[in-house]
Amino acid sequence: MTNTLHRFGDAASFSDDYIVFAIPSKSNKDPNALPKLHRFLEIAMEYKPVNLGDARHGGALRSSKNLGPLAHWNRDMKPDFQAVIKGLTVPTTCAAVFDNAHAAEQFVKRIKEEDLGMSVNVSTSIEGAERCCNYACIDRHSVGYSLGFEGKTEKIPNSQVTTLSTMCGHGMISHSLAKKMIDFVKENRRTPEQAATYLSRFCSCGIFNPSRAKRILEDARTNSK
């Protein structure tokens, strides 16, 4: 699965979307993989990520089995980054999501200096990843291009909905929920921040970018009829 590769949008729309992955050895040859992943996430915190993710347990905002109607008013909407770090109990893919180039570039440079020995990928615009590499004095190893969506594209909803829903490549954010959140924001029933929070909880890898979602929702409110 290429869970971040096929995010919808042009290169400019990824100016606030940088996902940096750390992937330990698949055959678990590294006995220090877990502490290295903890270190990766702890370092990420220094650069103010908008999300952290552990592919096994989820992101900084998670779904809950114990919700009642009052959750609409009293639910904690703050991302819990420490829960991601403390909850990482087995080596798995970890991700840090940033909403600005400077933070991503600094983080990549720092991770290179830490020399953790794990495979690290940057998922963003091609130019954005190149700039991260240049800043860190790294030569790219390989690149996987997204060629976008083809075929019966008439089955895909409008660009705002698709931009939101494709921020979870596993399809855990339904088009209908994304559309509902856009409508709620347009009707002033939810703020863009609240709607982005709701969407974020469905991404079980923690790679959803709530900052980008907030921008898209704000844009939908102000720039569409």
Partner: protein, 149 residues
């Protein structure tokens, strides 16, 4: 170097796909002697990998998305893209194409991108491996948690 990996993903985003549609693409790929990635789940569902034939009992099953993975020499990039274009017109779903390749010694990628651009693609997004991984010595620890990323 010299190879290109394709991920041909059906049904994404949020549309879904039936295995009979996936089989059409697999048949076409097998016909031009493309070999399927052995560790790919779709390959494991084939009753005949040499022809790209999927198990008869799952053909009408619908899944949210599924990826066929292949690797070909870089010279075949255009041929494969054109083949995907031809077959995807016959499918009742969407297709998301991913194309991966190694970069040059200094991180440059000047082989595959020009081919894709010649075919009309405006390359916007990519997943970039920055090459920090190292081979580690084996231990007797159990296998790590697998993640679909």
């Amino acid at each position: 170097m010299g190879d290109v990996g394709f991920t041909i993903e059906f049904g994404r985003p949020g549309v879904g796909v039936r295995f009979r549609d996936i089989q059409q693409m697999c048949w076409a790929l097998a016909k031009v002697n493309v070999s399927f990635e052995k560790k790919n789940p779709i390959t494991s569902l084939m009753s005949d990998v040499s022809t790209g034939t999927l198990r008869e009992d799952i053909l009408n099953e619908k899944v949210m998305s599924a990826i066929v993975e292949i690797k070909v020499p870089v010279e075949r990039t255009e041929e494969i893209v054109r083949l995907v274009w031809e077959i995807e017109k016959q499918l009742d779903t969407v297709v998301a194409l991913g194309v991966a390749t190694r970069c040059g010694e200094h991180g440059e990628e000047v082989v595959v991108a020009p081919i894709l651009e010649k075919l009309g693609y405006k390359l916007q997004r990519a997943k970039t491996n920055i090459g920090l991984g190292r081979v580690v010595e084996p231990t007797s620890e159990p296998a790590r948690e697998t993640a679909n990323v």
